[in-house]
Amino acid sequence: MILNFAKNWLQDPTRITKQIAKYLEASKAFDVEVLSFDKDDQFFSEGDYNEAVYILLEGTVQLSKKTPNGRNITVDWLRPGALVGLISFVTGEPVLTTAVAASPVKAIKMKEKDFLELQRSRDEAALLAQQLIIGNLIDRYHHVVSVHVELESINETLERERNHLREALKQLEETQHRLISQEKMATLGQLVAGIAHEINNPAAAMLRASDNLLEYLPEIIHKADPDQELHYNKYFRLGLRRVLRDSDQQRQILKEWEKLYPDLPRSLLRKVTSMSDEALEFVKEQIGDKPNALRRAELESMILFYESGYFLRNLQSSTKRIGEIVSSLKSYSRQDKGKYEKADLRDGLNDTLLLLSNRLKKIDVILNFSDIPPIDIITGEVNQVWTNIIINACDAMQDRGELVISCGHDDRYVWVSIKDNGPGIPSSVIREIFKPNFTTKHKNTSFGLGLGLSISQQIIQKHGGKIKARNTDEGGAEFKVYLPL
């Protein structure tokens, strides 16, 4: 039973200290004294050299240590039976902790000489001293182990909380980006609506003016050529209905006519030859093989009327185009303030395509629109989704390729599919693309926050729909949006 002799101390620390106290008192060989400490009396202070060890008989001693930040923390509480100052006493190094009486304390103070003497004594006292020392050390060791365990669990909690915080911070950042982006879109929307309105008025005036000209000019022409001998009206109408020829063919005809009429200036012939084949035969008849000065002057005035017709046609088609762009801008950027309205998805798609037409110049856009019923949507937001998907497709195809847009419906959803023939979405990222801040565009982007698809998904989910991405068998990417009926 000699091996677990320290058990005695662990089971009842005071039994041994009492025995030692009694022994010391009985033996006259030791110069020891029993000291009384009041609460808050200090045994020693951190960093001191310690020349005595105290056997704690009554009361509690608090061991504390200064942290590097200068804060005092409690390291341990010593109870009766404990040795105070054991380690510094044995090692001779400065004490690690400050010891202060936490209550009135009674303790035996032993100097080095006596402590060694106690251990060396031949009787039971040496065993008691060993039990006391080892018991104390074991106790401290237990304490260290439990502190480690506690520390570890605190660390775990801390780590968990830190992860929570990190996650929360990330979400905050994402939300902030999203808000900024939405704010940007809203501002842009207002700006666009304002511009559309501003352009609308002059565009309407232009259209009206060209409509009026279309009405008046034939009358004026009729007055200039009432018997239609000069065919002014005919040429004016030809210009108005001019159909553009393939430019290669146009070049051939111009070449032929330059040979036919080497005396006529090329700029005049260019205008003449832009007429239809039928009209050209008529012109030939009129001016003959070798037009004299008079015929040539006639031809020049005919061309004036022909060109006037053509200009008016251009004016009409251009103003019509401005009108279309403006109305697309207006409906695209609808300031609907989050209001749901019945709308045909095809209208929004057409508006978006018209506004992106510059971007789509080198892309074949194929529309496979089936009849779909109108559904309740926030038009401006859904248009943002089409824009995001189409712009992504343009980027993926590097602005060259084929874009197939189809739509249809079943009894629950209206769907729109936007398919490109670009390189597709790498399988390694296909799961990531709807996550915020995912982007493959690292440079040359004006709006590359990586929020496009994330916002698109949010918009569609808000509408009670879903958005899916996949790679087609042909290798391109397909985005399919489902919106509920």
Binding site: L244, S247, D248, R251, P265, R266, S267, R270, Y310, N314, S317, S318, N358, K361, K362, R400, N444
Partner: protein, 167 residues
């Protein structure tokens, strides 16, 4: 007016716009025949044919965005070609992408940059100035161009040339 064998090439994919450019330059056509193309591909062929026929390309006016190609790329390509290297090059653009413009200036030695919409006067001034430079640099007899192009510059050049050959 004697027609020269120096051509002006206009490249623009929208016929109405192309017509407008040609019409604005028609006063020059008595001397400098205009050829048009509505795509980069067509432009290459037209230029190739003209060069094969022994004609010269004095001025190229090119739209920024063309179907199937970028106007800047085409101008760079033409600038790198020995035969069209001396031709004056103008970029016509509806959208001023700074990057592209810088690239055009640096790599195609773009001679002028005209934002849409332009005015006839502006386009004519640019064309006259660039063609004047072209004929002074590349033509021996520049007297016939006095009436259409910048007469002052041409007579100045004739004077200097004479004095150089006199020495």
């Amino acid at each position: 007016m004697e027609r020269s064998d120096i051509y002006i090439i206009c490249i623009e994919d929208e016929q109405e716009v192309l017509d407008a450019v040609v019409r604005d330059l028609e006063k020059l056509e008595e001397q400098f025949p205009i050829e048009t193309a509505t795509s980069a591909e067509e432009a290459r062929e037209v230029i190739k044919k003209l060069l094969a026929d022994g004609r010269k390309i004095g001025l190229i006016i090119c739209d920024h965005i063309l179907p199937g190609d970028n106007g800047v790329e085409l101008l760079i390509e033409l600038h790198q070609d020995e035969q069209t290297h001396p031709s004056r090059k103008v970029l016509l653009t509806g959208q001023a992408g700074l990057d592209d413009t810088v690239r055009a200036l640096n790599q195609a030695r773009l001679h002028h940059y005209i934002p849409k919409p332009w005015t006839r006067q502006e386009l004519m001034e640019v064309a006259v100035r660039l063609l004047t430079d072209y004929v002074i640099e590349h033509e021996e007899n520049i007297l016939p161009y006095m009436s259409t192009l910048d007469a002052e510059k041409i007579s100045e050049s004739i004077r200097t040339r004479r004095s150089i050959s006199d020495e």
